[in-house]
């Protein structure tokens, strides 16, 4: 005979469980820069991505459990492609996608025993910085509309604090990338991140058609400049 557990306690336990899972991983930051939106992940893997293209102007970043956010990513690509095919490419929006994720995460959180241990950012680059959209979604399906920058993952608070000090509106790519990397290093006092251990991508509003682009390690190294020890 199971003990009675109050709904409040049940939700709190699930939330604690999800938070702990997310806090174990490394961080990801998303920030606006002069030409669009920059995504930087502390992720040495070349094959398992934390940052991905969803559609022409929309990208996805995630932290937490890989199989869980990968499932959400694949579903997001389906959502975008179905809607773009059925209506028009312009009718696929980050807001719509954020809603789908919110519904899905919310249901998983309340209906299943094990919540998803993930946190997501869905971002859409607009015609200018004013119309850029960044949505942050947490494991329970809540959505926050963010401006400027977002940090998530392990030690997210320390990273966000560091980013707050460094973030400059409308910074060029190299400066924005440097602030992002320095902020990710705030995860832990010893941490030094090199180009090879970073996953970096941009939504660049000056590109054509598909605005998402991954930056190869060589380009990241070039943008970061010489390492100052």
């Amino acid at each position: 005979m199971p003990f009675y557990v109050s709904p409040e306690q049940q939700m709190k336990d699930k939330a604690d469980y999800a938070r702990k899972g997310i806090a174990r991983g490394r961080s990801v930051v998303v920030l606006q820069y002069a030409d669009g939106i920059l995504f930087v992940a502390d992720n040495p893997s070349r094959a398992l991505h934390k940052i991905s293209e969803i559609y022409d102007r929309i990208a996805f970043a995630a932290v937490g459990k890989y199989n869980e956010f990968e499932n959400l990513r694949l579903g997001g690509v389906r959502y975008a492609d179905v809607n773009g095919y059925q209506y028009d490419r312009r009718d696929v929006t980050a807001r719509g996608l954020a809603n789908v994720y919110a519904q899905s995460l919310g249901t998983i959180f309340t209906e299943t025993n094990k919540p998803y241990e993930v946190e997501l950012v869905v971002a859409e680059v607009g015609e200018d910085a004013e119309t850029d959209q960044i949505y942050r979604l947490t494991f329970d399906g809540s959505v926050a509309d963010e401006h400027g920058y977002v940090a998530m993952g392990g030690q997210a608070e320390a990273v966000a604090q560091s980013l707050k000090e460094r973030y400059v509106e409308g910074a060029p790519l190299a400066d924005a990338l440097r602030s992002a990397v320095r902020s990710l290093e705030a995860q832990d006092s010893e941490r030094r991140l090199k180009a090879e251990s970073l996953e970096v991508a941009v939504l660049d509003r000056n590109r054509e058609h598909r605005l998402f682009k991954r930056l190869p390690a060589a380009r990241i190294g070039e943008l970061l400049g010489p390492v100052d020890d």
Binding site: S52, G75, V77, R78, Y85, Q86, Q103, I108, E111, T112
Partner: protein
């Protein structure tokens, strides 16, 4: 994931069956009415001449790539349904697709194929091989077989740059989904017989990209010369064939000015020699 999908209303199924990276396969289960092949037609009806048909498409390989071109005419029976229709499209970064046959279904096939390639690329993080793309297209054409038997046939022509071999490749199809790789050049559509005859005499192994484009425009002119459903360059209205080049640099559609200059040169040349350039007899 079916357990939670039941509660999410509109998004039901998006997260189900994560296995397939094919957009068409997914759509077949998720929203089958959006697929052209799954529609049923009334028994015995033949839509035949009432619906616009697209006509001639040509493709020519050259060292380092392939050129594809199409005329701009769509016909419904004896009527010109549209004189500036576009039948050659970018399939993805390194390939082009064009369609002949029922225009509406053809456009739908192209759109579906474009999403299919992009969908695979985004999900898998890699692009399909040229053969993979060509095979995928064959399956999609095959899905349209029932409609083809009732007079709504669509036949695509596919041209891609093979990065592994560093060369352009051409694939043609039949309405049953048969896939055939073509050597050097090919043409499809109502004027294809004449276009192919023309290309047979104009093709060389050492064509430049510009010369391959010129050969395509000549072939389309010859098709329009003898086939009433193919439109020639319309200098009065400034309507020229659509010409696309696929090389290691990717897909590029030639601008109106570029094609206009080629088309005018071809038409002017025909004042002196209505039959076009001649091949040496010996």
């Amino acid at each position: 994931m079916a357990s939670h999908d039941a509660h999410t209303g509109r998004s039901a199924g998006l997260f189900a069956n994560p296995g397939t990276s094919s957009f068409t396969d997914f759509l077949g289960g998720y929203s089958p009415d959006l697929l052209p092949g799954s529609r049923s037609l009334p028994e015995g009806a033949s839509a035949g001449d009432e619906i616009p048909h697209g006509t001639t498409i040509v493709a020519v390989t050259f060292p380092g790539g392939v050129v594809m071109a199409g005329d701009r005419r769509a016909t419904a029976g004896n009527v010109i349904a549209q004189r500036d229709v576009e039948k050659v499209f970018r399939a993805d970064e390194f390939s082009a697709i064009a369609v002949a046959g029922t225009a509406g279904l053809g456009m739908e096939l192209v759109r579906l194929f474009q999403v299919e390639l992009e969908h695979y690329e985004k999900r898998e993080g890699r692009t399909l091989s040229v053969e993979g793309k060509a095979n995928r297209l064959a399956t999609m054409v095959r899905g349209n077989l029932a409609m083809a038997m009732q007079g709504l046939a669509v036949v695509p022509l596919f041209a891609g740059y093979d990065e592994a071999r560093a060369e352009g490749r051409i694939f043609s199809y039949d309405p049953a989904g048969g896939r055939y790789e073509e050597r050097d050049f090919h043409a499809i559509g109502s004027g294809s017989v004449f276009a192919r005859g023309s290309l047979k005499k104009l093709f060389r192994r050492d064509l430049s990209a510009d010369d391959a484009a010129l050969a395509c425009v000549h072939a389309l002119y010859d098709a329009a010369d003898d086939d009433s459903a193919t439109g020639g360059p319309d200098l009065a209205r400034g309507i020229y064939p659509v010409v696309a080049v696929v090389t290691a640099e990717g897909y590029r559609r030639l601008g109106e000015d570029e094609v206009g200059a080629v088309a005018r040169a071809v038409v002017e040349g025909r004042y002196d020699a209505p039959g076009g350039p001649t091949a040496p007899l010996r």
